[in-house]
Amino acid sequence: MIGVPEIICHQVEKRYRNKRVLHSLTCSINKGKLSGLIGRNGAGKSTLLKLLAGHLKPTNGEITVFGECPFNNLKTASNIMFVEEGMTFPPLFTVLDIFKMAKDFYPNWQHELAKRLLDYANIPTNAFHHNLSKGQKSTFNLIYGLASRCTISLLDEPMNGMDESIRTDMYRAILKEYIAYPRTIIISSHHLNEMEHLLEEIILIDNGQIKLHASLDDVQQMLVRLRGDINLIRKLTSDMEVFFEKEDLFHYEVVVERNKIDEKLLQTMNILVQPVTASEVCKFMTSKGKGGIDDVFK
């Protein structure tokens, strides 16, 4: 049923020795959604996905997938596809052998589609997985992940190493596969701008916690950029939370919440109201200062 949480994390903590990577992370993800897991390097994206896939055990807290704990669990493992850079396959298998093996393992395996995508990506069927280039490996892993049509697909930085044109194609392939066979898909990336059109929701993770979990439309409309006279804007925004601020010789800009401002009124005051993209929202919400890199050079 759509609308029921399929993945639930409650107060999850994960430590590697003394280093705490995730702490008191709580979230739930509904069945059938295509979500983006966004965060900066080291925010804990991969750790969270590994926990969901059952490859790691949480130090504290509780994770349930299909109502069960995924760690060391065959039922969840056979219904979750985890695509990551470190995927390994038997060394003596060609890519076609791997597909044939997958056919026996995954009940929904799309053999023809897998072969057509491989051909489209110019990867020969008789190649060995370990001989593929970095980008080809990522492409192969993603094709493998899509063709398996598992109930949950976790894609950890699936486009790593791919060139620009194949990335665009593969994003389109994810969307088409999702339309053909709706399922829960989580894609982690630090390149939100190239995939935001695909997503229904964004899960922003920062310092091992969920910073924001909202629909893409809401994130795109959350903040606005105001440009114009510095004194006027400062006065108008004095009681608002400022997410970003930049001042130079000729103009002043500030980023605030959209629902705090009156757009029509500002336009009459000669203040420019500009959109802030979802990827900028994520950047502003996870950056340290208010002025970005320019502050460092002050």
Binding site: L175, K176, I179, N193, L198, Q220, P275, T277
Partner: protein, 123 residues
């Protein structure tokens, strides 16, 4: 049509406006079937839920109606409804913006009218 990811107008509203434009242009006829959210998602390369939101707005505004199990269809009289709504809201807002900008740039009334006429001739 291209969607503007970077815009003050949310994607689902851009989708709703696109469908309205198709109705105005008689590409979609009254009582005719409208694209499903999955077709729209495929056409515009967007998430089906976003496309679905666009359809939901039109359903709410009485532009479309739903037949159980068959999809969504264009409501009778929706073309007039859209035309009058656009006239009252969008066109007058745009006109207001133009007048304000003209004032800011010290463009006289006759100059502005001349400019509009010129664009009409060229268009």
């Amino acid at each position: 049509m291209n969607l503007k990811q970077e815009s003050n107008t949310p994607i689902y509203i851009q989708i709703a406006e696109w469908i309205e434009n198709e109705i105005i242009a008689d590409q979609l006829l009254e009582n005719g079937k409208v694209f499903s959210q999955y077709q729209l998602a495929e056409m515009f390369n967007i998430n089906p839920a976003t496309a679905g939101k666009g359809l939901a707005i039109l359903l709410e505004n009485g532009i479309l109606y739903k037949k159980r199990g068959l999809g969504m269809f264009v409501q009778e009289g929706s073309k007039e409804l859209i035309l009058s709504k656009r006239h009252n809201e969008k066109l007058s807002n745009l006109a207001k913006e133009i007048v304000e900008e003209a004032k800011r740039l010290f463009v006289s009334d006759s100059e502005l009218i001349e400019l509009i006429k010129k664009i009409q001739r060229e268009g």
